[in-house]
Symmetry: C2
Subunit: 136 residues, 2 copies
């Protein structure tokens, strides 16, 4: 991250990165644009579905999700924190996934998520772990 | 962490810390011994229940859980990763929570978790975020 970037700057950059990702995901137009936020070795732990490991499998997962009629995902980070050296960080926040219910009508399932991010030498934050669940 | 501890050492220490915690939690005898693994500002995001913020609220949550007849929690980390400076890390793994079902008989719910950890100046890893969900 270079020595001139403060922890607060790194945290703000990570929050903005997560927000940018959320916009790309909510638009749902480009699989590539959504998938590029994950690291090659990322692990996705979806509520109610098997763990997905690695970018190729994640790409299939995103493509399949976007093909579901009415599918939409939205999220908003509420907080971020980074390591002292700015190489690892996380965000937590709320999300909402819209999918067809058993009767075919769309249902929106609210949830909470945590994403862990790694910052590479070029300064790019990539998501390495992505997990969410539903509340009460 | 000092400059003599390698990333691998830090990762191994974090894995062991998570395993030690699991032993204390599975025994379920001492609330204090379980709660001491969380930071004062930790956030717990349980599957199917409201978010719990801060050690006092987490302590109540643990105490209430341990008072449930037949309650048990177990987990096993499968992987850990830490920042280059060893100040932030995470583990992922599988867990299982046993609670009375609707008919009063005990049911064990398998799940997957991610915990994020911060390492303080004295070298102690404390859990800052704790989230889990159920699979398919």
């Amino acid at each position: 991250m270079g020595h001139r970037m403060s922890i607060d700057d790194a945290k703000d950059a990570l929050l903005q990165r997560d927000r940018d990702w959320s916009v790309a995901a909510a638009e749902g137009r480009s699989v590539d644009r959504i998938v590029e936020y994950w690291s090659d070795d990322a692990v996705v732990i979806p509520a109610g579905a098997p763990i997905i490991r690695g970018k190729a499998a994640i790409r299939d997962y995103v493509q399949t999700s976007l093909a579901i009629p009415g599918f939409q995902i939205r999220w908003r980070p509420e907080a971020a924190s980074v390591s002292a050296d700015g190489t690892l960080g996380y965000t937590i926040g709320e999300n909402a996934v819209t999918v067809p219910g058993a009767d075919g009508r769309l249902v929106t399932i609210p949830g909470r998520y945590t994403t862990v991010w790694r910052r590479d030498l070029s300064g790019i934050w990539s998501c390495v772990v992505d997990i969410w669940n539903s509340g009460p």
